[in-house]
Symmetry: C2
Subunit: 126 residues, 2 copies
Amino acid sequence: MSPSTKQIRDAVAGYIATVSSGTSAEIAALYAEDATLEDPVGSEIKVGRAQIEKFYSALDSIDSTAELLTVRSGGSTAAFHFRVTSHLPDQTVVVEPIDVMTFDDDLTITSMRAVWAPEDVIAGQR
Amino acid sequence: MSPSTKQIRDAVAGYIATVSSGTSAEIAALYAEDATLEDPVGSEIKVGRAQIEKFYSALDSIDSTAELLTVRSGGSTAAFHFRVTSHLPDQTVVVEPIDVMTFDDDLTITSMRAVWAPEDVIAGQR
């Protein structure tokens, strides 16, 4: 049976919580084995859980938090606006992408596209 | 040459303005001849400008306004959160989808997917 709207939105909340406090391995485990990831849109597409874990591993050494701002879903697709705040040694960097995700019936992520551009990044003194 | 981030975001603003005050024919003219439209996601996909104009024609007899809340773009893709307020005879209906659009190099819309679900519709007395 296809997931309900609530199940999809709960899965998005789980993703955000894992990005905020989990490891790259824990984040990658939310994705299907053959999932695709395009972040930011227009960049090279990562295919498969190994490439996806490698992508998120860039965050493992950074103290960053993620919070969900707005989420919408329909069918097996979710779109959500969220904020990632990264606390670097000399500055705080904030970016608020809109991600588009698709899920399979088990609420595993089958694709993610992150819509944002370099000019959306806000850097400030911490 | 691929459109710039600013050009894509201006095209989204133009779409919102046309949805707000234009006719279905004017909205359809923003789409490529063979464009696709899926609104809401999970519903039957409309293909081609004629089907797309027919889709928007449901709005022609309704006093509705659209306003852009948040827009992000990267490559040839935009994602944007917006509000459509429809003033019906006996009530006001508000829905705030997140749309995902792709554009060609001439800033013509090649695809649109509207991410929202029936439970996102807010109806109130006017």
